[in-house]
């Protein structure tokens, strides 16, 4: 069974601070996706990383895929209250289904 461990589970910081959340697994994935989920809604895709060592930037969010394609990180620069939410990582492969982590609950306080 493939597992994705996300850390920290909860994070509360002040507006303007930087943060990094992690997604780790003992398994190799063909790609890894980061989602954001609001309460009562479906996950919304933020980014997909495919190549080991790949770095993608989405405004103040930087996503990195580990060289061995087993882990990933999400770094947010100058966090804002609008960044508050549940951040999920999900690995794809070897089959069709995504394996989700439990997520990191992020709260940015004004």
């Amino acid at each position: 069974t493939q597992l994705l461990e996300q850390s920290p589970q909860f994070l509360s910081i002040q507006e303007g601070e930087n943060l990094t959340v992690y997604c780790n697994s003992s398994s190799v994935f063909s790609s890894l996706q980061w989602y954001r989920q609001e309460p009562g809604e479906g996950p919304v895709l933020l980014v997909t990383v495919v190549t080991g060592g790949e770095v993608k930037k989405l405004k103040r969010l930087t996503f990195q895929f580990g060289d061995a394609r087993k882990d990933s990180s999400l770094h947010i620069t100058a966090a804002q209250p609008g960044d508050t939410g549940l951040y999920l990582c999900a690995g794809l492969g070897p089959g069709d289904g995504l394996t989700f982590g439990k997520g990191t609950h992020l709260i940015i306080q004004p």
Binding site: G40, G42, P43, L45, L88, D96, K102
Partner: protein, 111 residues
């Protein structure tokens, strides 16, 4: 912007009843999925569907579950005889290749 739509948004049913959850995937997508999320737990894969047949299913997707694409636009999940533990948010997703787009979910409450 195209989106995946799901109905109903919330359904309450008695244990043992049949439930059908409906999804309209994004129109040019080829792959369709159902996931579920029990309250407070992680999102779990149920089934994937491609070319009018199931391509993969998880251990959760037992004989009580079935999927269908009856008319080329809708994609349905049927639970034949619901159990209390089927209470969850059920998410439909579709993709063209690789990147999944999720609907807002159908909350199923089994009493």
């Amino acid at each position: 912007e195209p989106e995946v739509t799901q109905t109903p948004s919330h359904q309450v049913t008695q244990m043992g009843q049949e439930v059908i959850l409906r999804c309209v995937p994004i129109s040019n997508h080829l792959y369709f999925y159902w996931y579920r999320q029990i309250l407070g737990q992680k999102v779990e894969f149920l089934v994937s569907f491609y070319n009018n047949e199931i391509s993969e299913k998880s251990e959760i997707f037992d004989d009580q579950f079935s999927v269908e694409r009856p008319d080329g636009s809708n994609f349905t999940l049927k639970i034949r005889s619901t159990k209390l533990e089927d209470s969850a948010m059920y998410f439909c997703a579709s993709s063209f290749y690789g990147e999944l787009f999720f609907g807002e979910g159908s909350r199923l409450t089994v009493l």
